[in-house]
Each structure stands twice: as structure tokens, then as C-alpha cells.
């Protein structure tokens, strides 16, 4: 496997399409801007520029493919590319953290796959990952196996591909989670975007009833304006509904055939219908677990579970905050995760925020929404009075925020739960927490309350779950817990 290889020629087409996508906005701008005709050759300038741009992108895509080679040599993955500036990137095998596969529509007919190589925490963001845009599937699997073997330090003959693909067949691991079609539908329907649509529906329903009395009260002009508003409202609502439909469909395609496998020390997620994706999460890179419940899913006992992992690329935020269980009954989480991450405890009794903190949860939400509602009511009397609903909504949200705040300590694990709009519960191990911060405002001090934030690494940055307005003594318990033990001088307390 040591000779330099090119990517599949189709990647030239992909480069071209990608270049086209990046150039589309400036191109439109160019064409729209120079729309006035003066009858000279200048009229043709935009078209000319556009044409040259097109040819340039085409050639560029082709050259990119031509100059891009990869090979495996001396325990390194060596990638070389670039025409004028020849760039070489050599990635030592033990720095490769995981390989993620994805198959787009263009990959499928040729049995190809895009390989994204994630390396462990390089401080230089641009160096943190590399892509092989399109290579044959068996080659990708051979690469995967080769990395696996190199990591296991077994001195096998890395040149015989047949042997490796056999090894790959055997190594399917055990499926720990599968998402049934019914649940994918629920997932798609209850995703974040739906909230906007439902509130739109509610608003529209309320508007509908009010159109009739207004007809009697105002003259025809006002009526006309009202109908105008109505039509615009209807149109935008329909648009919203359609985009929601598309969103549901896309979510369905994205999560179709969702499967999580545990292969030795890696979690492998595969998903997707049109575009197939495979992501690998090494278990030892997991920094913490986040369980999310939005307002639509919570009543039905559904939640989603995300894994925060370290390192990786710059691209998708999603890649570091991996949706391990996109939709799952909350009470079955601990059963599923016991097989995957037995160190984590998901059955915890959270200690709540004290009763006297209720006021603090309400006060700012109430003040801000009251000011808004007051202003809206004043300027849009009397229909602006509807904004009082906002205050009521804020009050119920504040109540939920108060009810959902909680914390728990269990051995090495800290659990913090709070709600913005979505309820988030973080499960973190002491040896993964980067720092812990207690905060106390003057108001909190008077009631001996305080807030806590613990930061874990997530992707190239961090995730910082915060719980507000807890008992000061509880915060101190957490700080005490987090403080390294002084007796164990120079012995690293490093579980697992």
C-alpha cells in the first residue's frame, strides 16, 4: 500500500461542483449588478467574466484532482497536493483519531466513499483534519483496517488487501442502538423547527377569529389593509408549512437506517438514505454526555443523547457533538448506555434548587417581557394587549427553569441539569472537567445562592453547562469534590 494513489476521477467533478457552489453568490451578484444595457461590448463583460470563472473553476477542479495523491509510508499517511505551492501533509498513524465515511449521491453509483480523517487535538485548526474526497470503498476499508492494526501494534503484512478486507468483514461489532422508522418520523416532526411552525399556527388561529369583528368596526380601507395583512400572513404561513415539510423529509432522509455499533473501543454511527454517513467515536475521546429534551418531546418521555468528544475538525459543529441517540425514551437511556459507557450513571436523583431561588428564576424574565409587553400594548393599543401572552409564556418557562435546575454527585461523576428553552442534562467525569467556576451576584449573596459552571472539552472549544441559583453549601460541596486530593502527592488519579 505504499505507492502514491490518486483519488477517483469523480472527485474532479466534485471539486468543480464545490467551486461552483462557492462562486454562485458572487456570480449572481455580478449578473444582477450589471443589468443595464449600454449597447457596447461592456454589456458582454459580466457574461465574459462569468465564462472565464466557469472555465477556471473547471480547470481548477481537474488540477486539484490531478495533483492530489495519498500513500502510506513509514507509518504515516502522506498526502501531497497543490500546483504552484506543493503541499505535503504527513500524518503519523497514531495521531489519527478516527475515520469518518460519507457517501453522497455522486459516490453511490461508483461504490465510492468520502473519507474524513480526524486527528487528535492539533492546536492548528487547519491541520486538524484531512479529506479524501472520493476513494473506492474497499480501499477505504483497507485504510481503516491498516490504522486499526497499526494501533494494535500487530506486525501484520499491511500489503495484502485481501486479508484485511476479510478481517473487516469479521469485525462488525455489536449493534447497540437502532432507530425504528416510527421514531424517525417522531424525531422529524418534533425537531426544533416545528416549534416555530406550531406557534405560527397558534398565532394564525387567533388572527382568524379577529378578522370578522373588525369588518364591522372599520371602514373599507382598514378592511382592505386587514385583508392584505391576512393574505401576507397566509402566504408566509404556507411558506413556513412547506419549509417545515421539507425539513421533516430531510430529517427523515438524514436519520434513515440509523445504527450505532460498538466495535472494540470505538462507537460507529451509520446513518442516511441519499447520503450515507459513517462516523467513528473512540470511546476514550468522549468528554461527557448531554441529554436534551425539548418542550415537544418531553411530554412524551422522549429525549436525545449527545456525546461531546474532543479534537476533530473545523467543519460541522455537529461532528463534535455527536447525536448518539437522536430519539430515545428517557427511561431506556441507562439500559442502552450501560452496554456502551458503563462508567456513566444515568439513573440519578437530582438535587433541586432551593425554594427561595424561585424569585430569581422569575425576576429577569418577568421584567424584560413586561417591558416589551408594556411597550407593545402602548403603541399598538388595543391589539398589542395580546403581548401579555408573552409574559404568561415567560412565567411558565421560568417555572420550568426553576423546576428543572438540579445537580448530582456520584463518585467521579457530576451531573448538571438546567433549562434555557431546551432542558439539558450533562453527565461529566471529574477527570474530564477542565475547570469549575462558582459565581455569585450581589442579589444571590443576600439569599445565599450561587451558580456553578463546569467546562469540558468539546471539539476544539469547550462546552460549559451552568446551573443557576443553587444553595451556596451545594456549590461548595461541588467545588470541594472537584478539588484534587492533597494526600495523593504525585500519584495521578487517572481512572480508566
Amino acid at each position: 500500500m505504499s505507492e502514491a494513489k490518486r483519488l477517483h476521477p469523480i472527485s474532479a467533478v466534485m471539486n468543480f461542483l464545490k467551486g461552483l457552489k462557492d462562486a454562485i453568490l458572487p456570480a449572481i451578484f455580478l449578473l444582477v449588478l450589471n443589468n443595464d444595457e449600454s449597447g457596447t461590448w461592456l454589456d458582454w463583460l459580466p457574461t465574459l467574466v462569468f465564462g472565464v470563472l466557469l472555465v477556471f473553476i473547471l480547470v481548477n477542479g481537474f488540477i486539484k484532482w490531478l495533483r492530489f495523491t495519498y500513500r502510506i509510508e513509514e507509518g504515516e499517511l502522506r498526502i501531497e497536493y497543490g500546483l504552484i505551492f506543493r503541499k505535503k501533509r504527513y500524518i503519523p498513524i497514531d495521531r489519527i483519531q478516527s475515520l469518518n465515511f460519507s457517501e453522497g449521491v455522486l459516490h453511490r453509483p461508483f461504490n465510492l466513499v468520502k473519507v474524513n480523517i480526524e486527528t487528535a487535538g492539533s492546536s492548528d485548526i487547519a491541520q486538524a483534519e484531512a479529506d479524501l474526497t472520493a476513494i473506492k470503498k474497499p480501499e477505504a476499508h483497507a485504510l481503516e483496517d491498516w490504522i486499526q492494526q497499526a494501533k494494535r501494534k500487530t506486525e501484520a503484512d499491511t500489503d495484502s488487501e485481501a486479508l484485511e478486507s476479510n478481517a473487516h468483514q469479521a469485525d462488525e461489532g455489536s449493534v447497540v442502538f437502532r432507530l425504528p422508522s416510527k421514531e424517525i418520523v417522531i424525531l422529524a416532526v418534533t425537531s426544533g423547527a416545528s416549534g416555530v411552525v406550531f406557534s405560527g399556527l397558534a398565532f394564525f388561529g387567533s388572527q382568524f377569529g379577529e378578522i370578522i369583528p373588525y369588518e364591522a368596526l372599520f371602514n373599507e380601507v382598514v378592511e382592505f389593509v386587514q385583508i392584505g395583512v391576512f393574505v401576507v400572513g397566509l402566504a408566509s404561513f404556507l411558506l413556513l408549512l412547506i419549509s417545515y415539510g421539507i425539513g421533516v423529509l430531510l430529517t427523515f432522509l438524514r436519520f434513515a437506517d440509523f445504527k450505532v455499533r460498538l466495535v472494540e473501543d470505538d462507537l460507529i454511527i451509520t446513518r442516511g438514505m441519499l447520503e450515507k454517513k459513517q462516523m467513528t467515536i473512540p470511546l476514550n475521546r468522549i468528554q461527557g454526555i448531554q441529554v436534551k429534551q425539548n418542550l415537544l418531546r418531553q411530554p412524551f418521555g422522549y429525549a436525545s443523547l449527545h456525546v461531546e468528544s474532543a479534537g476533530g475538525g473545523v467543519g460541522d459543529k455537529e461532528e463534535h457533538n455527536m447525536n448518539l441517540l437522536p430519539l430515545v425514551k428517557k427511561d431506556s437511556i441507562s439500559g442502552i448506555m450501560a452496554k456502551v459507557l458503563p462508567d456513566y450513571q444515568f439513573d440519578v436523583d437530582l438535587k433541586p434548587a432551593p425554594k427561595r431561588s424561585r424569585f430569581r428564576y422569575f425576576i429577569w424574565n418577568m421584567i424584560i417581557t413586561s417591558i416589551i409587553a408594556g411597550a407593545v400594548s402602548w403603541f399598538l393599543w388595543p391589539i398589542g394587549l395580546l403581548s401579555v401572552i408573552l409574559v404568561l409564556l415567560a412565567a411558565s418557562l421560568s417555572w420550568l427553569q426553576y423546576k428543572d435546575a438540579g445537580w448530582d454527585l456520584q463518585g467521579q461523576q457530576l451531573c448538571l441539569q438546567s433549562r434555557g428553552i431546551i432542558k439539558r442534562t450533562y453527565y461529566m467525569k471529574k477527570y474530564r472537567i477542565q475547570d469549575t467556576e462558582a459565581k455569585q451576584s450581589w442579589f444571590q449573596k443576600r439569599k445565599s445562592l450561587a451558580s456553578i459552571t463546569s467546562t469540558i472539552k468539546s471539539g476544539l472549544g469547550g462546552a460549559s453547562p451552568t446551573v443557576d441559583h443553587l444553595e451556596v453549601s451545594d456549590i461548595e460541596t461541588m467545588l470541594q469534590w472537584y478539588e484534587p486530593e492533597k494526600v495523593q502527592k504525585n500519584t495521578k488519579n487517572k481512572p480508566t
Binding site: 467556576e437 455569585q440 450581589w442 449573596k445 487517572k494
Partner: protein, 160 residues
């Protein structure tokens, strides 16, 4: 909070430095306010604008030259122990931060022109996910801290 405050304060010279920063800011605000007052006379704008032009710079001077630097300096405390670093800062909201030594990835010191004039330095402590700064330490102290933190941090290996 019941917890003992971290033992060390930052350099008293920081107070003077912050007052200078506040002073510069106040001068700019005062100039703007003066401009407003002149414009109010000139264009016959409503008279209450003059009141604003007087009150705002006064408040600004009181707050950013006197009150805020004093509180901030009093609040700023730090302590570097063998196993962890503890910081306390904040004017309205008091932050207490605990960074275990094993989480520290690297330590930097930096100096702006004003800091250099007063022989001060800012030290920043980076973990894999966060950066914490201790502003305005004596240069020697900062240098010493950087040395000791990085040698203490080197003792432990990395999980991330």
C-alpha cells in the same frame, strides 16, 4: 461564600493602572459630552441634553476612575497550590474558578506598553478548553508563577 478566599492579591500598582485606563476613557467621554453641550447651545436643542452632558461624564469619572477599579482590585485574588489554581474576581458577580494543575496545558505571560512601564505582566493559563488570565502581576512574580505552574503541570500527564 464560606470557602476561604485565595491568599494572594495582585499588584497594588494595578489599581493605578486601571485608574489610568478609566481616566483615558473618561477624557474621551468628557470630550464627547462637551461636544454635545456646545451643539445644544448652537442648534437650540432641548435644554435637558445639557444636564445629560454634565451627569454622564461625572458618573463615568466616579465609576471608572474611582469606584470600579477599587472594587475590582479588592476582589481580585489568586492562589497557586500544588494541585490546583484558584482565582477570584468580579465586581457585581463574584467568580471563583478552580483549575486543577493536571488540566493546565500551557502558561503565557504578556505585557502591553503601559504594563511594561509599571513593570507588570499579565499571566494567562490555558486548559484544553478555557483560558484564564491574572492581570497585572509584578513581572518577577509573573515569571515565577509561570515557571512554577508549568513545572507543576508537567508532573501530571494528559487525558485529553
Amino acid at each position: 461564600m464560606e470557602r476561604l478566599e485565595p491568599a494572594n492579591r495582585i499588584s497594588p500598582k494595578a489599581l493605578r493602572l486601571w485608574r489610568i485606563y478609566g481616566g483615558i476613557q473618561s477624557v474621551i467621554i468628557t470630550l464627547l459630552a462637551a461636544g454635545l453641550i456646545v451643539a445644544t447651545y448652537y442648534f437650540n436643542w432641548p435644554k435637558w441634553l445639557i444636564l445629560i452632558g454634565i451627569i454622564v461624564p461625572l458618573l463615568e469619572i466616579i465609576l471608572s476612575v474611582w469606584l470600579l477599579p477599587t472594587i475590582r482590585w479588592k476582589r481580585w485574588r489568586y492562589e497557586v497550590r500544588e494541585q490546583e489554581i484558584e482565582l477570584q474576581h468580579g465586581i457585581w458577580i463574584v467568580n471563583r474558578t478552580l483549575v486543577p494543575m493536571i488540566r493546565v496545558q500551557h502558561v503565557d505571560t504578556e505585557q502591553g506598553p503601559l504594563l511594561r512601564k509599571y513593570k507588570l505582566a499579565t499571566i494567562s493559563i490555558s486548559t484544553a478548553a478555557t483560558v484564564h488570565k491574572i492581570p497585572a502581576l509584578e513581572v518577577d512574580e509573573a515569571e515565577h508563577l509561570r515557571q512554577s505552574i508549568s513545572s507543576l503541570a508537567r508532573v501530571a500527564e494528559d487525558d485529553v
